[in-house]
C-alpha cells in the first residue's frame, strides 16, 4: 500500500518537492524511528530538526500491525519567523 508523505517549510525547500508516495513496508527502514528513517532516505535532512506525524498524530513510530492502513506521514520542521 502506498502512503503519502508531506514535507513542510524548510524541509520541502531542501528537498525541492513537498510530497511523495512511499511504500512503508519497503521504504521505511526503521519503523520504530521515523526521524532517522527519513534522514537516511533523504541525505539533505541529515542535520535538520523535524518531527513526524502519522495520520495527524505526532509520533516517531509506526505500528507495524496496522502499517498498511496508514494514509499520510507529515514531516514537520519548527518555524521561527514572526
Amino acid at each position: 500500500m502506498k502512503c503519502k508523505v508531506i514535507y513542510f517549510g524548510l524541509i520541502a525547500e531542501k528537498l525541492a518537492f513537498d510530497s511523495e508516495e512511499i511504500v512503508i513496508e519497503t521504504d521505511i527502514f526503521d519503523k520504530s524511528n521515523l526521524e532517522l528513517s527519513f534522514k537516511k532516505r533523504h541525505i539533505q535532512l541529515t542535520e535538520m530538526t523535524f518531527k513526524t506525524a502519522v495520520d495527524g498524530v505526532l509520533t516517531n513510530k509506526i505500528d507495524t500491525e496496522n502499517q498498511s492502513q496508514i494514509k499520510e506521514i507529515a514531516i514537520l520542521p519548527p518555524f521561527a519567523g514572526g
Binding site: 505526532l58 507529515a74 519567523g81
Partner: protein
C-alpha cells in the same frame, strides 16, 4: 439600544461605559460573547512578545476586541523592509521604536484600554518580571532563542501561551500550557541549531501570511478569555497560503520535561554559583543532552572514574593554564568528588575569563550517579 439594558446584565453595565457599549456592540451581540464576555475581555491581561509581522495583527485585533490590559515587548525599530507586512507602521515612522509607535496607534484605535510598553529585548533576566502580571502570553517573536525562552518561562509561571510562527508561505499556530496541556517543547524538545539563522529577514515572507496567522492567534486569545470551546490546545495547525490547505497534528504533553529545572538552567548563565543535583542532571539530560559538556576538575587517578562523551578533564591545579580549552557557548557541568573544588574552579574561571556557562554538580560525582548515567546510555 435595547440589549444594553437587560436586567440580568446589570452587573456588567457597571464595567462598561455607554461609549464602550457602543464600541463593542457588534461583538456583544454575539451569543458566545455578550456583556459577560466583554467584561472578561476588559479585565484580561495579555502580553504580546514581538510587535512585528505577527504582533501587528495580534495587537490590532486584541485592542479592537477590548482586551483591557495589553503589554507589548519589542526592542526593535521600524525599518522600511517591515512595512509590507507590519501594518501598524508608516513610512514616516522608520527609525522609531516599534513598541512605542504601536502603543500610540492602538490607543487611537481603542482609548478604553491600557497599554504597557517594554522597549527592551526579552531576555532571561527580565522574562519573569515582564510576564508576571499577565495571564496570557502571545509569542510573536522571530527567533528560536526567544521562542524557547518564552515557552519555558510561560510554563514556569503557569501562564497560557499562544504560539504562532511563519515560514515563507506557511504558518503554524497552537495553544500551549492550556489547562495542563502540551507545550512547545512537547512538539520540539530542543532548539534547532542548523536552522536557527532562518527568519523572515533572511528567507522572505509573503506579507499577508502574518496577518492570517496573527489573526488566528488573536482569535484563540479571545476564545480563551471568553471561555469558548475548541481551543487549539494539543493541536498544531499548519496553514499553507499557497494552497489554502490547513493541516492539524495532535500531540500530547510530555510529562518527563522538568520545566522548573529547564528554566533554572537558563537562569544559570546569569546566576553566580548555580548548582544542580545529580538527580536533576539525570532528568535534564534527557532533554538537552547535546548541549551539556562535563568538566572534571579532579586530579588524575581519583575515583570513581566517570567516562562519557562530551567530557574534558582539567584538574583544579591546572585550570589557570588550560582554561582556554573550556567552551563558553554551551552549558558546562563542573564536578569533583564533593562539589567543593568544582565550586572553587567555577569562581576561579569567572575571575580568569568571565565564564557564565558553568554549573556546579553539588555533592560531587558518585558511583551511583555513574551507574544511573550508564543505564541511560
Amino acid at each position: 439600544m435595547q440589549f444594553y439594558h437587560l436586567s440580568q446584565e446589570d452587573n456588567f453595565l457597571k464595567m462598561l461605559s455607554d461609549l464602550e457599549l457602543k464600541y463593542y456592540s457588534r461583538q456583544i451581540l454575539l451569543e458566545d460573547i455578550g456583556l459577560a464576555g466583554q467584561e472578561k475581555l476588559k479585565k484580561a491581561k495579555v502580553l504580546v512578545i514581538g510587535a512585528g509581522g505577527l504582533g501587528c495583527p495580534v495587537l490590532t485585533y486584541l485592542t479592537a476586541a477590548g482586551v483591557g490590559n495589553i503589554g507589548i515587548v519589542d526592542h526593535d525599530i521600524i525599518e522600511i523592509s517591515n512595512l509590507h507586512r507590519q501594518t501598524l507602521y508608516s513610512f514616516e515612522e522608520i527609525g522609531k521604536s516599534k513598541a512605542e509607535i504601536a502603543k500610540i496607534k492602538l490607543e487611537k484605535l481603542n482609548p478604553f484600554i491600557s497599554i504597557e510598553v517594554f522597549s527592551i529585548r526579552f531576555e532571561i533576566d527580565n522574562a519573569l518580571k515582564i510576564m508576571e502580571k499577565y495571564e496570557i502570553i502571545v509569542d510573536c517573536s522571530d527567533n528560536y532563542e526567544t521562542r524557547f525562552l518564552v515557552n519555558d518561562a510561560t510554563v514556569f509561571l503557569n501562564k497560557i501561551l499562544i504560539y504562532g510562527s511563519i515560514y515563507k508561505f506557511e504558518g503554524q499556530v497552537s495553544v500551549f500550557n492550556f489547562k495542563n496541556g502540551p507545550t512547545y517543547r512537547c512538539l520540539f524538545p530542543e532548539m534547532p541549531v542548523k536552522e536557527s539563522l532562518t527568519n523572515c529577514s533572511l528567507s522572505g515572507v509573503i506579507g499577508v501570511l502574518p496577518g492570517i496567522i496573527g489573526g488566528f492567534q488573536a482569535n484563540e486569545v479571545v476564545k480563551i478569555i471568553t471561555e469558548q470551546n475548541n481551543i487549539l490546545s494539543g493541536k498544531l495547525m499548519i496553514y499553507n497560503a499557497k494552497t489554502n490547505h490547513n493541516q492539524f497534528i495532535d500531540f500530547k504533553r510530555n510529562s518527563a520535561i522538568n520545566y522548573d529545572l529547564l528554566f533554572k538552567l537558563q537562569l544559570s548563565t546569569k546566576i553566580q554559583h548555580y548548582e544542580i543535583s545529580k538527580q536533576e542532571l539525570l532528568e535534564v539530560e534527557k532533554i538537552i543532552k547535546q548541549e551539556i559538556l562535563f568538566l572534571d576538575v579532579r586530579e588524575i587517578g581519583e575515583i570513581p572514574i566517570f567516562e562519557t562523551e562530551n567530557l574534558i578533564r582539567i584538574s583544579l591545579s591546572k585550570i589557570e593554564l588550560d582554561f582556554n580549552k573550556i567552551p563558553k557557548n554551551q552549558k558546562v557541568i563542573v564536578f569533583c568528588q564533593s562539589g567543593i573544588r568544582s565550586k572553587n574552579a567555577i569562581n576561579l574561571l569567572k575571575k580568569l575569563d568571565n565564564f557564565e556557562n558553568l554549573i556546579n554538580l553539588n555533592e560531587g560525582i558518585s558511583e551511583e550517579f555513574i551507574e544511573s548515567w550508564k543505564e541511560k546510555k
